[in-house]
Amino acid sequence: MIYQPPSGARDLLPLDVAQKCWIEQRLQQVFNCWSYQRIITPTLERLDTLMAGGAIQPETVIQLRDAEEAILGLRPELTASIARAAVTRMAGVTYPQRLYYNANIFRQTQDSYSSQQEFFQAGVELLGCSGLLADAEILLLLADCLDSLGLQRWHLILGEAELTRSLLADFPLPLREQVRHSIAQLDRVALEALSLSPQLQQRALFLLDLRGKPGDVLQRVGGLDLAPAQRLVLNNLKSLVEVLGERFSLTLDLSLIQTFDYYTGLVFEAVIDTESGVQVLGKGGRYDQLLSLYHPQGQLVPGIGFALNIEDLHQVLLPTAQLPQQTPASDWLVVPEDEQAISAAFTYAQHLRAEAKRVEIDLVPRTTESIWEYARQHRIPQIAWVSADGSPRIIAPPA
């Protein structure tokens, strides 16, 4: 009998872990510098908690049942859990709440064989604040995260779900969902096949390709006949683009929308151009309705956040040789001279560890030559032979 992991599961061996930690530690350092606090929520949630926001389909969640037959799911993302925890468990806290996480998520994939099911994400949620400052903080924090990893040529695609939704309100109701769906999927052929008046047809095609350099796009939208509320959103977007300045490469894309109502303001994707094509590194957006769904009194609490995909970052960083190429070696190998020296060897090793050294005890009685060989293979620079009286003989293995 050979025990295999379930298809789609993977083991992370020590070098994988060292590389993953390299990424996570840099991100956590940035989160800490921006004064975000770590939150840990359960891996398992009730399925209805996970699905409340409308962005998660049940068939994409790995499901289980608890003892009372309630349907549970392995979390496919963190925002639902954090929203639930924030409004129910952290009642009475003052806003803003700045929270970050570093956790595993799970996705059920139907159609492809043995595709990955467990992923890791690091991200933030900024709760209780809306407006230009909060939006700018999140985007600049995202930029800081990607810069801390030494990534070059990354790029932000930025949309405004509220503005796009309001521009879609001109379409008659039975067709509006199809127009929105076609724009979200960039399906121009379907859009052209809808029975729309020439004027609305033109508007739909305008929205489908409403992207490019921020200044150009703002100007194109500004040329439309906008209501005061739309004008306000547009002006906020303009101010945000000014605040961001030349900090990173930015495409404004007002066709970047979902087919469901989840995001209520900014929506964005950080992408990078690699040799194997363009790749998404993380996504986020503003969700001002979500927390009220979990709040006992339905109170509105605005929120914005993003999640970075650790595997995607890992894959992009791997060829750059920034990641550790080896697991860290021990600084010392401590060898008891004989059986009487064991206790002294442990004491001496502990004394070295107090100086924050990596110390390993030699566990196998063997010849001096084979100890040297072992130390060379494991890149251990110093060996201490300890005698029963506790005195060490310190030797570097001969090259």
């Binding site: 960039l186 495409t251 194997s276």
Partner: protein, 213 residues
């Protein structure tokens, strides 16, 4: 470099003609002795690779090709996450239900419940009969689907029909049309959003070339 996935088979000639009209020449693929999988255009702007028609949307979905030409039938069957930018209006055909000429069925709805239906398009066939609320057994085949009813293995087939000649020659008759299909220009959504390799420019060129022909 701008990379285009082109389908082997019926759509290749028209695809190459269209790309040539905007200055991207991949006619190397049409030479009878060609065994190359990848051809660069003479100006060094773009390259194309030649793959099975079902694989075109795969390369485009994963972003190894930014553009591709593929039949709408393949998009309906595989449901890839790609941007459908243009109806190229060649390669016209339809996905239809067909039965033996000698059978009494004159509509798919007349097929008895739990009939066997042979098809290369199992996803489309399954969805069609599910929407008709008619339970059938779909038998996947990979070629010469017409043999299904001839041998008696299946009561009907769901297959592509262009002129109908193959059906007639094999004593089959077309009943219902699931949908009409033509060649489509598809793009990798993220590359399209980022306008990588001036994608938008090339798509607009193709659009005006299609309008004038």
């Amino acid at each position: 470099m701008l990379t285009i996935a082109l389908p082997k088979g019926a759509l290749l000639k028209d695809s190459i003609r269209l790309l040539k009209s905007i200055g991207l020449d991949f006619s190397g693929f049409l030479e009878p002795a060609n065994r190359q999988l990848q051809v660069f255009d003479a100006t060094g702007t773009a390259k194309a690779f030649l793959v099975r028609t079902q694989d075109v949307p795969v390369y485009v979905e994963y972003g190894q090709a930014q553009l591709g030409v593929v039949g709408y039938d393949v998009l309906r069957e595989k449901q890839p996450q790609v941007a459908q930018l243009m109806d190229l209006r060649f390669g016209r055909c339809r996905l239809s239900v067909a039965v033996k000429q000698s059978s009494s069925y004159r509509s798919a709805l007349e097929l008895p419940a739990h009939s066997r239906v042979a098809s290369k398009f199992t996803y489309c066939a399954h969805a069609y009969f599910r929407d008709l609320d008619l339970p059938v057994e779909i038998i996947p085949l990979y070629g010469s689907v017409e043999l299904g009813p001839i041998t008696g293995m299946s009561a009907a087939i769901v297959d592509l029909v262009s002129t109908g000649q193959t059906l007639r020659e094999n004593g089959l008759v077309e009943l219902d049309v699931l949908f009409e299909s033509t060649a489509r220009l598809i793009a990798h959504p993220l590359s399209y959003r980022l306008d990588s390799y001036r994608l938008h420019h090339w798509v607009e060129q193709l659009r005006s070339a299609t309008v004038t022909t």
